[in-house]
Amino acid sequence: MGAKQTANLEQDQGVSFQLGLEKAHVLILKQEDLARRNMILDVILTLSTLRYTYQLVYLAAPRLFGASIDAMMFKSRGIGLLFYDERRIDEAVPAQPLQVEQTPQTSQQDDKVVFTELATLRTMYLEMERSINQLRDDLMTLHNSRPLPDKVSSPTPSIHSIASPLRFHQDSMQGGELPSYFMNNPWLDVLSKRGSGEREPIAG
């Protein structure tokens, strides 16, 4: 029903509790701690950092410390202040939790979106890498099967002679389209290589 004590992960003079989703930590001072120099300052600094881990942080000090502790310092920082003696424990300043209840859920949702986008990017990257590798292989195959001519000065007529009249004829033809018997016709490539050095038969 009440808060359950949990393991003190801070390894200090304190106890940790959990009540539902809320976690609380109480740093307990003893009478001999009063003699420590800058004790209050250290406590405040310690508990301030713990506020990102625990929803509620408290300082529990002996009632005797009450006169020497400025409660406003705790209140302004959201740190709770408890005074205790042999008979009872009083909450002098209630702890103010940070608005961290929403943060874990929001980050989980954002994480999911980010992870999804990352997965998509990864898939796209892998696909692109595959495509590039395939193109590289095709280019190597093409290069190996059709060595470039030695005489670069005499330009290969195939592309030049096809491209220029292609533009001319497309301009002068109705609709700018080549006739159907040109489409996917392998003879365009074969004939464009006439005279390019391949062995030609004698007519006989």
Partner: protein, 410 residues
Amino acid sequence: MDFGTSDFKFGPITLGEQPRIVNNRGYFPDKNSVMYRAFQATSEIIVGDEIPLYLQSAEDLSSRLIYPMRNGMIDRNDVQAWRVVQSLAAYGLDAFKPQPNNGFHGYYVVASLSSISPRYMYERLMSAFQQNNHGMVRAVTVIPQPFAVAIGHGVTTCVVIESGHGNSQVCPISKYPIRTAQVALNRGGGDANAITSEILKDAGYGDLANEEALVRRVKESIGLVPQDLDRTLEEAKRSPRKVRAVYKVPGTRIEIDLENDSWSRFLIGEYVFNPNHEIFESYFSRGMPKPRDVKMGETVFRGMLDFGEAIAASVERCPVELQPLLYREVLLSGGNFSWTVPTKLQDLAVDAPTKVKSLLRNRGIKNVSVKMTSSPQFSVWHGCIIYGFAVPENYEWDWQRLEGWMKVPN
């Protein structure tokens, strides 16, 4: 420019799918005739669409109306025929004369001849384009018609069978024409006309059997190709009504009905593909000319070889590794392969590709693909257009390989 047996097809790439077509013929008019003087014609030869305007009596036709390439060849010394060819070439160029001063430097002309054309035909045709072309020709080349068919059809390794009026040619192609493997047959559409004429005589239509144009139309209307002649004749004689052949001559009262002799319509198609069946012997014995082996120039035309045997003989002259590839693409081109199959006779009649495939199968050649060319009427012209478009302009004419551009000085 496709110089076909009957038609001259011509035009630049801008015509798109179809060329312009006129008859491959020329008319030498009588200069004293009224029509010649009325039209103030200056040309000694009339070609193109104007010919009918000058035609006179029927007797006039044989001497003045010249068909230069009736059998795909022109005799070296046939002056009139060569003049007609030259006139047609000029006619074709003039029909597409460009606007002046637009940067035009002359056409690249691709002419196409029969594959059995001897070298002098190449020389004379190229010469025709080099004379008086008025800057219309930049370069000229000549390619064989089967080669043009393969180009127009888009197949680089194939066997093209071109069958026209007077003869047929089997031409293997593998990026180039394999000229040493060509087989020529002395048999074409004219032989189908001959047997049709005999059939008409036997059926009592002797008076019509001598009119060539009518006989040709009868052939095209009733002629069929049988899958298997013996089986088909047996079925046809058993069911004469099923195969009844009737042809009504348009614009006349003349009707040709073969009645119980309708089975003979299957002889017309069979004779084209395989004249060796014994049934044809009776026709030969009665005077029908038997196709015989003839030598024209350097080419021997075989008379009685069936198409299956002709294709096999041609392919087997090619390298062994190439042969299976050639059998996989057999293309049929020419009007002599345009055989219809009536729906109700699909069990008895076949089309040309099926018949050729059957003839090859009978010779043990099984992995065969036989097709008609994609555009039987225009595939030669398509091939000429593609050739002219793609071949580099610096590929010069060579009389050894018979390819390349012959530049025309202007």
